[in-house]
């Protein structure tokens, strides 16, 4: 799969969230919820299908490293973004960013959402 393929929105979100740090499933759901101010609710079945797909495409991987035992349930798997995942994310962000810039230029009075 060539990284030049356009991403589905949910894929972009998951990759974006994983690009900062390794997370497990629940963590991804929470972070997406936070960043989109609750507008995007990721259901478990959906999430893991997306993760499965991203893993098959080599954009996401299972993280060998784990946080301290006492902080976490051992069964959970942690996911991290791969190098090609990072490249794909960057490219998509670049494309979307250019579009967002255009929108901002058209509506300069709108307060942009602070992502962080």
């Amino acid at each position: 799969m060539s990284p030049t393929q356009p991403m589905r929105p949910i894929e972009f979100l998951v990759l974006a969230v994983l690009s900062e740090q390794t997370r497990h499933g629940y963590g991804i759901v929470q972070e997406i919820d936070r960043r989109t101010r609750g507008r995007v609710e990721v259901k478990p079945g959906n999430l893991y299908r997306v993760i499965d797909r991203l893993m098959q495409r080599g954009l996401v991987d299972e993280d060998e490293r784990r946080p301290a035992k006492d902080l976490d349930n051992q069964r959970r798997r942690y996911y991290t973004i791969t190098e090609s995942g990072g490249r794909a994310l960057t490219e998509e962000a670049r494309m979307l960013g250019a579009i967002v810039d255009g929108v901002r230029a058209t509506f300069p009075d709108e307060t942009p959402e602070t992502a962080r």
């Binding site: 991403m7 629940y26 478990p44 079945g45 893991y48 299908r49 069964r75």
Partner: protein, 876 residues
């Protein structure tokens, strides 16, 4: 979560996902779910998500991509993929010309047969008649429930009253077909003519090309003799002469003025039109016309029929005797033309559909064999990254392209077949000259081709795309163990083919037997060297007394013509189509109520009739000079009627009442053997004969038995008739052989067609058998090599090969016979005369099947005997 009963429920939901997915992510999923539940999310929405996503994962349903890009990537658009598949398909077809040719031919035959039959169905049943207002035209029949009549011709006064009294009817007319002698020049020919009345030309949308059409004024008995010719006649026989109108033609010896030229009659090929004179034939009780009416615009069929019912009620009270029990029945003209013919057409369509299925089975087999041979190629492609779905789709596309080739071939065969079909369809099927390959038929052919492509392409494509890669490449691709399942399918298909062919042959065999039985049945009268001619002396010119003299003179003079052995006159020839019925009862018996009156076929004959036709006298005597106009009224019964009236008691001397105008009692003087008027019926109609001098009819036929070829006598008889009365219309000249043949013509054609299709089906099955047997030989080459090396001779090897085929046939044939018997039992009401289970037919069909197996095995058997053991044992 594991011990929690709620947790177990989530586990169940997890089963929606495919196994691999569950293995990879199942636990994590459950953990996430429990986290979300703890957080307070709705359990129901979570459960739904699991179920839906799981199923979606199984079905590989995905969210659509947000936008498609122009990427140089194998996941291109649908159109690109299709074109690529098609290109690949063309390459594949071209590189295997043998297979392509065989498949194209096989499919072409199957599809072509369907195309031809459908073309007929399309024209006859689906396309409306082609003249203006055709959808508003109805044919008028008269019915009489008491007499068991449900579709007789109309009488002139009844039709007139219907037309004039009904507000729903805009125009009406009648016609009656006949044959006339036409002298255009000095070479008289017999041509088809129609007597027309009223506004018939208008109702049928015929246009006037020159002069004027016939009108009511021309029907006046006092009017001059006029005639209108058809366009075809005008062009061919009159040379499109512009001066034709006003010229004279001799019709039946009588000069007539041509007053107009009209376009062709939509119903039948007619050359000239004569006005229907309102004299003799205009009795209310004389039902001989084909009535046609056109409803006014906006009138529904129900309104029209209600109007007709009302009018017939009125007629019943106005004419209680002449109209008692009668009524009208109106049928849309298009349906009236088809009548029962559609049953035949649908039956034929069913048969050719079956033939096509057999062709598809054959093609499937061929493609399965090829798929096995291509397994290497497919395995390599699969290793290079083509997914199963991709390979499947590509193979299916290839099949569809083969099907399209077959469809084109089918169009060609269909076109050719249509030419043959058109001239050979039974007469019940109307409008056969209009049948053509129009866009509907083309669409049908295309549809059928696509359907067959999917049908025969599915199995090979599925089978091929499932090849196990490693096994194929390991074993060198040729003899695969996974071919076992395929071999089973192929064998099964061939068994099915042979089974169906056998069933078709059984049906054909039964039809043939029925036909043979019917034609072999003793007709009850002599058929050789006997002629029949229709006379119909018009009553106006020939009232009773004059008619008496005419018939005497005719009989005497014709008998004296050289070559004539005997002659007589009758009101109805055997196997004739126009029959008259009268009610009857035994003298002295109480008159039954009207609904219960028995009816019998009434025939009036001159003395000498029975002898001329060599009928059997069972008791008493034939008519002779004693039975004159002033003598005691006499009657002769056929055996069926004698039995009906008197059972086993002797009938001679008893007296019978016939419900004619006179209500005389007649004495039975003779009983004759039954004449088979309806060859396909078991029972014989009751029939009675009166002496012509005692019971006149103006519809007369002359029957003449000759001592040499009948045809040579015809002109002599015609000359004689012309001398006696040049105006006497003489037509319908046939030998009784022709009459007999005509009465089975339709069934004969059907039988021939079913037989032909059954043989085609068998031929296709032979091809299928050949393929399977050849494949079996190839598969068992090693075994054959070993046997030969161990001393088996050619005969043993051949027997082994033939045994393969016989094994399959042994399963298929009894199955086919069984199916046919069940089917035939279901429709056996049509074949009362023949035992459905006929050992002779079964033996013949089984014999044919064995011959087919032998034929199919011939080439593979020879090939098997030529196997070189050294080569065979060496080959992997």
């Amino acid at each position: 979560m594991s011990s929690n009963p709620a947790g177990r429920a989530w586990r169940w939901l997890l089963l929606a996902f495919p196994r691999q997915f569950r293995r990879r992510h199942g636990l994590d999923l459950l953990d996430l779910v429990s986290d979300l539940v703890a957080e307070g999310r709705s359990r129901r929405s979570l459960a739904f998500d699991l179920a839906a996503q799981g199923l979606g994962a199984r079905l590989r349903l995905r969210q659509p991509r947000p936008y498609s890009t122009r990427s140089p990537d194998s996941r291109s658009s649908l159109m690109d993929r299709l074109l690529q598949d098609m290109r690949y398909g063309v390459r594949s077809l071209v590189s295997n010309p043998g297979v392509t040719l065989v498949v194209t031919l096989t499919l072409g035959l199957g599809i072509g047969a369907n195309t031809a039959i459908f073309a007929v169905i399309n024209t006859v049943l689906l396309q409306p008649l082609s003249f203006d207002g055709a959808e508003r035209v109805f044919q008028v029949y008269e019915t009489n429930q008491q007499r068991g009549i449900d579709g007789s011709n109309v009488s002139y006064p009844n039709l007139e009253d219907l037309i004039t009294r009904s507000e729903q009817i805009e125009a009406g007319g009648a016609l009656s077909f006949t044959n006339v002698n036409l002298a255009a020049g000095d070479y008289p020919e017999r041509v088809r003519a129609a007597l027309v009345s009223g506004e018939l030309f208008d109702v049928l949308g015929m246009t006037t090309l020159a002069g004027r059409p016939l009108g009511v004024a021309d029907q006046d008995p006092g009017a001059e003799s006029r005639v209108v010719v058809s366009e075809g006649f005008w062009q061919q026989r009159l040379g499109a002469d512009p001066g034709a109108v006003g010229s004279r033609l001799r019709v039946n010896g009588r000069p007539r003025t041509v007053v107009g030229v009209v376009s062709e009659l939509p119903l039948a090929d007619v050359e000239v039109f004569l006005p229907l004179r309102l004299d003799e034939y205009a009795h209310r009780t004389n039902h001989f016309l084909q009535g046609l009416v056109r409803a006014a615009p906006g009138v529904t069929p129900e309104q029209l029929r209600a109007s007709a019912t009302g009018i017939s009620e009125g007629l019943r009270s106005e004419y209680p005797e002449a109209y008692e029990g009668w009524g009208f029945r109106l049928v849309e003209l298009q349906m009236a033309l088809v009548d029962d013919g559609w049953v035949i057409l649908v039956f034929l369509l069913g048969i050719v559909a079956v033939v096509l299925l057999i062709a598809c089975a054959n093609v499937t087999n061929v493609l399965l064999a090829r798929a096995a041979a291509r397994s290497r190629e497919i395995a390599v492609r699969s290793a290079l990254g083509a997914g199963r779905a991709r390979i499947f789709r590509q193979l299916l596309t290839e099949s569809l392209m083969l099907a399209m080739c077959g469809g084109l071939a089918g169009l060609l065969f269909g076109f050719l077949g249509l030419g043959i079909l058109r001239s050979n369809l039974p007469e019940d099927i109307p409008r056969t000259d209009e049948v053509t390959l129009d866009p509907t038929v083309l669409a049908f052919t295309l549809g059928i081709a696509l359907l067959t492509g999917i049908l025969f392409g599915l199995a090979p494509a599925l089978s091929a795309s499932r090849s196990r890669l490693s096994e194929t490449l390991k074993e060198g691709g040729a003899q695969m163990s996974t071919g076992w399942a395929r071999g089973r399918l192929r064998n099964g298909l061939v068994i099915a083919e042979v089974c169906v062919s056998v069933a078709l042959l059984m049906v054909a065999g039964l039809l043939v037997r029925t036909l043979l039985d019917v034609t072999a049945r003793d007709p009850g009268f002599s058929v050789e060297r006997t002629l029949a001619l229709r006379l119909d002396p018009p009553a106006q010119k020939y009232p009773e007394a004059v008619l008496d003299e005419l018939t005497r003179r005719l009989q005497a003079d014709v008998s004296r013509v050289p070559g004539v052995e005997a002659a007589a006159l009758t009101s109805q020839i055997p196997r004739g189509s126009s029959r008259t019925y009268r009610g009857f009862k035994i003298e002295g018996a109480p008159s039954p109520p009207v609904e219960e009156i028995d009816y019998a076929n009434w025939v009036s004959v001159t003395p000498g009739y029975f002898e001329t036709l060599r009928m059997n006298l069972l008791a008493g005597r034939f008519f002779d000079a004693r039975d004159g106009a002033d003598a005691e009224p006499t009657i002769i019964l056929n055996r069926s009627m004698a039995r009906t009236l008197f059972g086993q008691q002797p009938a001679i001397g008893r007296r019978v009442h016939i419900f004619t105008d006179e209500e005389l009692a007649r004495e039975v003087v003779g009983v004759i053997g039954d004449v088979v008027d309806r060859p396909f019926n078991e029972e014989i109609d009751p029939q009675f004969f009166t002496p012509l001098p005692q019971a006149y009819s103006n519809r007369l036929s002359l029957v003449v038995r000759t001592d040499s070829e009948a045809a040579t006598v015809v002109s002599a008889v015609r000359d004689l008739l012309r001398r006696i009365d040049p105006d006497l219309p003489v037509y319908g000249v046939q030998t009784l052989q022709e009459v007999l043949a005509g009465s089975v013509a339709g069934p004969r054609v059907i039988t021939a067609m079913v037989g032909a299709f059954a043989m085609l089906a068998l031929g296709l099955s032979v091809l299928g058998l050949y393929g399977v047997i050849a494949y079996a030989v190839t598969r068992r080459t090693r075994e054959i090599g070993i046997r030969i090396a161990l001393g088996a001779d050619a005969g043993q090897v051949r027997r082994m090969v033939v045994g393969e085929g016989l094994r399959l046939a042994a399963i298929a044939a009894p199955l086919g016979v069984g199916i046919a018997l069940v089917f035939l039992q279901v429709i056996s009401s049509q074949f009362r005369r023949i035992e459905v289970f006929d050992p002779l037919t079964v033996a013949a069909v089984v014999g044919l099947t064995v011959v087919a197996v032998l034929a199919a095995s011939y080439v593979p058997a020879r090939r098997a005997t030529r196997v070189d053991p050294l080569v065979a044992l060496r080959a992997e």
